[in-house]
Symmetry: C2
């Protein structure tokens, strides 16, 4: 493998995207960004283009693409793509080793599919590809001999714990959860939590949607579904453990009683770099090192599925299979956006999702079309229910 | 690899030996004991012979061997060896896959050498082979293409954390230490600790000598030296971390900031079985599983080398190299035996060792003869100093 890794970064202006840019910046030339893609943040994109000089850039929004084109100084040799297909196009660029897929939501699925079909290794930061389309995506990756390298800290941890190990010797996966800002709230107090309280995550700096999912434990539920597909384990062999310090990023318990864990500071640049440097590990000199003596204590407790019903809903949908996880995810996205708009309460989030699940007629979720159809249905159904609630 | 693993167990009547018998007993036929060897506990050995029906048995003590021979009922088809060479002979039995070397002290070194020369994989529970003769033993193992599989929980943990990883990507090894029963004692209180207090280890059931070494942190120091040889790391890249619950058995920190840890309950049967089943992991249904939610909290602190000077002495001797670790270990054995006989105080242990180290003229430690010579010299010197102190 060459000393320089070429990546295409799909979703470069979001939280994972900017962290990936930071990893590339600090890599002292070991990471070359071949392509950058995003939806519409053309000003941020302009800065990234000027810094990283990719060969290709994509902005889905035509107007933003035009502004980007006009704002770039003469002499920047870079092809600018736009429109709905541009993300897919960039994910499959011939000069790329790894496609980092960091577009949030269902919109992030098509570029993942495109990267796999082009035989690129995929650094996977988009949850929906596996939550909504796990069977389809993992089958496709096997078919194309592509490695899906998870970027979520929990799945990166499990991926690392499994190096040199055998899947059939796993007893269970232990996915750790910070428990979110409401971990110790009573059911009464949960009734009245605000948008601002939910956005105040104790350990991780993340986007708004995922921060709310952390507070409701839906994020952990979606991660359980992802873990099921990434590592091929039954839901009965995946356990969630609350660990408020977020130092142990997840664990694998083997049948001989040994537990292998991955630990680290809470900084997404570690799993991002790992996804790019894999199978190697590169020095990260610019991040502080984990100091357990200074941290002093790591604590653990069982998750409370009564106070946080989203976690139980995720396990339930995972076990039901087919398009149930797709619908869970889509309904959650709508409910969270309504909560962020102060239109429904925090406890309405699981209520909206349950309402949608009740009327769902599931499909096998074996093609991108079926997945997107179920996704669309769940969104309109969730909108209808959320409107009634608010 | 066949479904049944044949082992020879050198040191079968001691603490690790009886735990290994328990692992074999519970293995439902997957482990066949080809040979059993010990020093003189003929009654315990008789029970083991009757249960496991090995082809060969050795007792170093001629008198004990005679008693064993006489006590075995007719029809037990088993060759009984005796004398100084019998341990070495058993370690090299042709029908054995793995030699478990669990004889304590310098007496445990020759069987390890013999097993390696015969091309057996070695399950290594004897510390002295690596502490006193690390350069020689690891060179010999490489020469014969033999894997040294550590049985100490700390080294087994590191060995497991390194599966699928590259040595050159290690930042440091983090060897955990319970801190022993005197972890929170003041220097004054340490002056008056008794034999009984030192033998009361918080987490592990072990032999007397190693329990005292746990209390003085010399055990951890010897483990640092072992880790140096087993994993080829400089002493500056090996750190000791006090972790009173002994749940994280040790860790490896990689250069990308990721830390991989191995966790488990405090039961030696896990690392013993791993050494036998390696590279596989076998189900251990009879042991309780680790439950972190029930444990609740794991804590960490820096070791205090002022109150526990044995740890500093071990690092110092490790760095000095040659026969210094040999002498450290031998002097410690004498000092501990004197402490166990109530002849010197707990704080005299490091004083005796320091006295011996001061007058040592080191040798390269490149042959078994040099090692045993330095070992013998250190024992008589330590005896002389301990007599003066007591």
């Amino acid at each position: 493998m060459s000393d320089v890794r070429s990546i295409t970064l799909i979703g470069s202006t979001g939280s994972i995207g900017t962290s990936t840019c930071s990893v590339a910046r600090e890599s002292r030339g070991r990471i070359r960004i071949t392509g950058l893609a995003a939806h519409r943040s053309w000003e941020k994109m302009r800065d990234q283009v000027l810094e990283f000089r990719p060969d290709h850039v994509a902005l889905v929004d035509e107007d933003a693409a035009r502004k980007l084109r006009e704002s770039l100084p003469a002499g920047i040799d870079c092809e600018i793509h736009s429109g709905a297909d541009s993300l897919r196009h960039l994910a499959a660029l011939p000069d790329t080793d790894t496609a980092i897929c960091a577009v949030l939501g269902a919109a992030g699925i098509p570029p993942v599919v495109s990267a796999i079909r082009a035989g690129k290794d995929v650094g996977l930061a988009n949850k929906e590809a596996l939550v909504a389309g796990g069977a389809f995506i993992t089958h496709l990756a096997r078919e194309h001999g592509v490695t899906l390298i998870p970027i979520d800290s929990e799945h990166s941890a499990i991926f690392q714990c499994l190096r040199g190990e055998r899947t059939e010797e796993i007893h269970q996966l232990v996915v750790t959860a910070s428990g979110g800002p409401f971990r110790q709230f009573t059911p009464d107090r949960l009734q009245t939590v605000t948008r601002a309280e939910a956005l105040d995550h104790p350990n991780w700096e993340m986007g708004e949607k995922i921060t709310i999912d952390s507070a409701s434990l839906m994020n952990k539920g979606l991660e359980v579904i992802e873990a099921h597909w990434l590592f091929g384990l039954d839901y009965t062999d995946i356990r969630v453990l609350v660990h408020p310090q977020s130092i142990i990023h997840s664990m694998v318990e083997f049948r001989d009683g040994s537990v292998i864990a991955q630990l680290g500071i809470a900084d997404m640049r570690t799993p991002i770099q790992f996804a790019i440097s894999f199978p190697e590990r590169w020095e990260i000199g610019y991040l502080p090192r984990l100091d357990l003596a200074q941290i002093g204590s790591l604590t653990f407790e069982e998750p409370d599925m009564d106070r946080f019903p989203c976690l139980g809903l995720a396990f339930k949908c995972g076990k039901l299979g087919d398009t149930y996880p797709t619908v869970l995810n889509a309904a959650n996205e709508i409910a969270v956006s309504r909560f962020l708009a102060d239109r429904i309460t925090f406890l309405d989030i699981p209520r909206v999702i349950e309402g949608v699940l009740e009327t769902h007629d599931s499909l096998p979720a074996s093609s991108l079309e079926e997945i997107l159809e179920a996704d669309g249905w769940a969104r309109s159904e969730a909108t209808r229910i959320a409107d009634r609630v608010s």
